[in-house]
């Protein structure tokens, strides 16, 4: 059991290494190493665009919820407008990237695992190999790149929407003016809050797509195996996201970012 887990992690590391090497190689160039812009674009559309409305909806609500939750305790000190500071900081550093990543896990990650799993079952992966096309370069790399790019974009969008959500609640229910709210946000937020959030988003994107590809390519045993891999992908990814988030947050904390 323990040995098996180590082996699986080793395989995962190997795939990740090969994917990163392929990305590096595609940047350096040479025939047979290109990944194809059209392919990348298509993947970005597929992975990202469909999750935009959900990310917006969820992060709007989270901003609003956080605003309401914080209003009571801060009202006791008579500093209700400070809710703006809290909402902004929490979303930019933490909730923006994390919640966007969770939404994308459900959309993109599950879809990638199911798609690659189905390709395994249909002998498509073997057919690729038989045609001397590396599945890592051809399938994994565009999905990884597309997910990273899309998640970073989604996070920027999500951050803004969450603050907008908080602001809406603040304006209508707590009597905080829009100008006042934005002033508080702007005063609170520093470049590194934004940047650390985006770094996290990039890492989360890598995590989501590589776990999904890994699980998809390991599918065994028909349609049932595809279903299993898909649901496991979602669970494993969310656990991995939280663990890596903790790791990064502590690292940023100690480094003083």
């Amino acid at each position: 059991m323990f040995r098996q887990a180590i082996e699986v992690l080793g395989d995962f590391g190997l795939m990740l290494y090969r994917a990163l090497a392929a990305i590096h190689e595609s940047l350096v160039g040479g025939r047979g190493s290109r990944i194809g812009r059209a392919n990348l674009w298509w993947q970005m559309n597929r992975v990202g665009i469909s999750s935009i409305p959900i990310v917006c909806l969820v992060l709007f609500c989270i901003g609003a919820i956080l605003e309401l939750q914080m209003a009571k305790p801060l009202a006791n000190f008579g500093v209700v407008p400070l809710t703006a500071d809290i909402v902004s900081l929490a979303t930019f550093r933490e909730l923006g990237p994390l919640v966007s990543a969770v939404v994308l896990t459900g959309f993109g990650g599950a879809a990638i695992a199911a798609e690659l799993g189905t390709m395994v079952v249909g002998e498509e992966i073997e057919a690729l190999e038989a045609q001397a096309i590396d599945p890592i370069r051809f399938l994994v790399v565009p999905r990884v790149l597309a997910t990273i790019i899309m998640l970073v974009c989604l996070t920027v969008l999500g951050d803004l929407v969450a603050v907008f959500g908080g602001m809406t609640v603040g304006f209508f229910w707590l009597g905080i003016g829009v100008r006042q709210y934005l002033a508080h946000s702007r005063e609170m937020l520093h470049v590194q809050d934004f940047v650390t959030g985006l770094i996290k988003a990039g890492v989360f994107g890598l995590l989501i797509s590589s776990i999904a590809c890994f699980m998809g390519l390991r599918v065994k045993g028909g349609a049932e195996g595809v279903g299993l891999a898909t649901s496991r992908t979602v669970v494993y990814t969310i656990v991995a996201l939280i663990l890596v988030d903790l790791l990064f947050t502590s690292a940023f904390f100690y480094l003083g970012f």
Binding site: R31, G32, E115, T118, M119, G122, E123, E124, E126, A127, L128, E129, A130, Q131, A132, I133, F138
Partner: protein, 266 residues
Amino acid sequence: MDDPVIAIKNITKRFGDRVIFDRLSLDIYPGQTLVIMGGSGSGKSTLLRAMMGQVPLDGGEIIAGGRSIGSMTEPQLMDWRKSVGFLFQSGALFNSMTVADNLALTMREHSDLAESTIQIMVKIYLQMVGLRQHLNKMPAELSGGMKKRAGLARALMMQPQIFFYDEPTAGLDPVSSAQIDTLISDLHRKLRFTSVVVTHEIKSAFRVADRMALLHNGKFVVVGAPDEFRSSKDPLIRQFIDGLSVGPLSDPRGHEDYEKDILQLG
């Protein structure tokens, strides 16, 4: 005789407890069409995959183009795979692409040909297998036989010198089968392809074969010319050719414990 293109040397392969290859050896010579026959599950598809370097062996080696497949570097293995056309048992088309894109993919990946040239080639090869009018269909819209023919056209796009066919005619009507067989023999005669054909169908086997081999229990029990097969008295071959249900090839079904098993007396 020339040096073999592929030399299978004493290979063994197990899946769990099941021995699929038991010190199996065979030489495949240039320009020859070798037909491999054998019961379902005897390891024919696995053998073709092993020759593509897709199945790690437990023992022995397969020499291709003078090198052992197991010890090839990544680029050497890629070159070997590029020189082989592989028709999968299921066709194995890429389901997310149109038929035309399925064919075009290898050329787009491995050559610098202009897109217009690739499109012309796609049409030529689809015409060869009679699917030109289905160019823009998705694989899901094709019948099983059409998928297989599209798979054949796709493998031909690479212009290989060596061709592996995994049951090219299984599930096809007699006319399409005959057409595929003709195509295989034409490729072989006109273009001097080296082919390995896995098939269950005796008729098509005799139509295309220069040499035949029967895989059974991890070994080639007989290897020889079609005439030797036809006139052979070997009970194994006779059972296969005549399609008898009882004989040495039949599954050991274990009739002895069947009743007990059913009635749970044991």
